[in-house]
């Protein structure tokens, strides 16, 4: 924001919002053209609140009460292709029902913003938090940000538009918030004035593409017709996938510009990777989402007891910030990877596999152990995190990791 030519920080208002309300409030301030969503626990509050904003005339948004998540994403694709700012929200099985369109949104380069209230995938049916839904979509070509608290949810829900629409990115984005732990927990959230949010998001920019009638913006426009989503066979599909590779690589470079701009406006600075007490750490944990707050608390306790513990919060999962993680980790000899997800039949859970891959070619690398926690909403308690650190310390002292995978908090060995 500028006043008298001077760059100033926006004046903020403290509100009591749960994670879902933070998404809805931020989205109200952005005032997108189209919201197409179907309510599903624990995302429901987002849709409820937003439909109230629509009913009360607080937004200009066309709210489409679709009959399923498949339609929610299809509608978002259509709206975004027509040049609209399109928002949707879902969780777990809703995301699963969207599946085919999720991939289409990213391959058509449509900057849709979606809030994902992370919830365990059925079955058996469970409405509580883990990361099986978001992790399942890790190869879909979407950007994924995992939030730690309601403040981050609010901030990311505004930043998301600028990230998705950045001319070098042009990809859909998931703002991930842990179901119930964040979605239904009220916290203090600093909010910006509507005007500051509007200034920040501005108007949606478009990239120029070459259509069959010449050059034009990548949007459906009767004056400049384009073919979007054509049959794309052996001779072109592969090349188009390279565009997605490039876009996610570029995203890794450009998201930080938006983080910086947001910091100037709000005073809240985010990084892809946020280390805590890592300078002299001998054992470290890395994790995503709400559990990192608990991990930080345990690090403080362990430090006061003399253990050189550190931790890393991973905020950006897609694109995967390999170099940022390595820099944050430094020379820590042992790393534990905390995950609310199982990749059945795989050697380890997704984040562990990616970290292993990231480090495989390096001569100097930490020993790594994978800890699965919190499936189906099971509490990730300080004791469980302590258990992980104790195990890591043992590995550090013996020089080896006894078990690649440990399922913490499950009954039975």
């Amino acid at each position: 924001m500028y006043r008298d030519g001077e760059k100033i920080m926006a004046k903020q208002k403290l509100m009591g919002l749960n994670g879902d309300e933070a998404v809805a409030y931020a989205t109200k301030q952005v005032n997108p053209d189209v919201v197409a969503a179907y309510p599903i626990t624990p995302q429901t509050i987002i849709v409820e609140r937003f439909s109230e904003y629509v009913a009360d005339g607080e937004v200009d948004t066309e709210f489409v009460a679709v009959e399923s998540e498949h339609s929610a994403m299809s509608c978002s694709v259509g709206a975004s292709a027509a040049g609209a700012r399109a928002f949707t929200a879902t969780a777990a099985n809703g995301l699963a029902l969207m599946w085919e369109i999720v991939y289409i949104a990213s391959s058509l380069r449509l900057p849709i913003v979606m809030a994902l209230a992370n919830r365990a995938l059925s079955g058996p049916i469970n409405i509580h938090n883990d990361h099986s839904d978001g992790m399942g979509a890790r190869d879909s070509g979407w950007i994924q940000i995992y939030c730690e608290n309601a403040q981050e949810v609010y901030d990311a829900s505004i930043q998301a538009w600028r990230i998705a629409e950045h001319l070098k990115i042009q990809l859909p984005i998931m703002v991930c918030l842990d179901g119930f732990t964040l979605s239904h927990t009220m916290e203090n959230v600093e909010t910006l004035p509507d005007e500051a949010v509007q200034d920040f998001v501005g108007e949606r920019p478009f990239i120029e593409v070459e259509g069959h009638l010449g050059k034009g913006e990548l949007r459906l426009n009767p004056d400049m017709p384009l073919t979007m989503g054509p049959l794309d066979l052996q001779d072109f599909y592969y090349e188009h996938k390279m565009h997605q590779v490039e876009a996610l690589n570029d995203a890794l470079e450009h998201i930080k510009e938006i983080d910086d701009e947001w910091a100037d406006l709000s005073g809240r600075k985010y990084d892809y990777v946020e280390p805590y007490m890592m300078e002299d750490a001998e054992v470290a944990l890395i994790g995503m989402g709400s559990m990192v707050g608990t991990i930080r608390h345990v690090v403080d306790e362990l430090r006061s007891e003399g253990m050189k513990a550190g931790m890393i919060k991973l905020r950006l999962f897609r694109p995967f910030p390999t170099e940022h993680i390595k820099k944050a980790l430094g020379n820590v000899p042992v790393l534990g990877v905390m995950e609310k997800c199982i990749s059945f039949g795989a050697p380890a859970s997704p984040l562990m596999e990616e970290l292993m891959t990231a480090y495989y070619q390096d001569k100097e690398k930490p020993m790594m152990a994978n800890f699965v926690v919190g499936l189906g909403g099971r509490d990730v308690s300080p004791d469980m995190i302590r258990e992980a650190y104790t195990s890591l310390l043992k590995s550090k002292n013996t020089g080896k990791v006894e078990k690649l995978m440990t399922y913490i908090g499950v009954r039975g060995e």
Partner: protein, 89 residues
């Protein structure tokens, strides 16, 4: 003509050519042969053709555009006077 590298293709998998430039006539093995001596100019083949590859000429007779005809044979099947025969290209 060599095909473009991925860096030179429009983003979003937008097609930079018209579908008119996509000659699908080589997909099929058969092509319709229309016997105008039996044809009643009903134009059903023109309407039924899923590819829009059968045109109506100024004289009212129909003609298949083999650059686009995929040889599906629907025209021959639907022709009420059976004046269309599918033949090997």
């Amino acid at each position: 003509m060599s095909k473009r590298a991925w860096q030179d293709l429009p983003k979003g998998a937008v097609s930079y050519k018209s579908s008119m430039d996509y000659k699908t006539g080589d997909w099929g093995v058969d092509a319709p042969k229309i016997d105008h001596s039996k044809c009643t100019k009903c134009m059903l083949c023109h309407f039924y053709c899923p590819e829009g590859a059968i045109h109506v000429r100024d004289d009212g007779y129909t003609e298949a555009d083999l650059e686009y005809c995929k040889g599906c044979g629907i025209c021959a099947k639907e022709c009420p006077v059976k004046c269309i025969e599918m033949v090997r290209k």
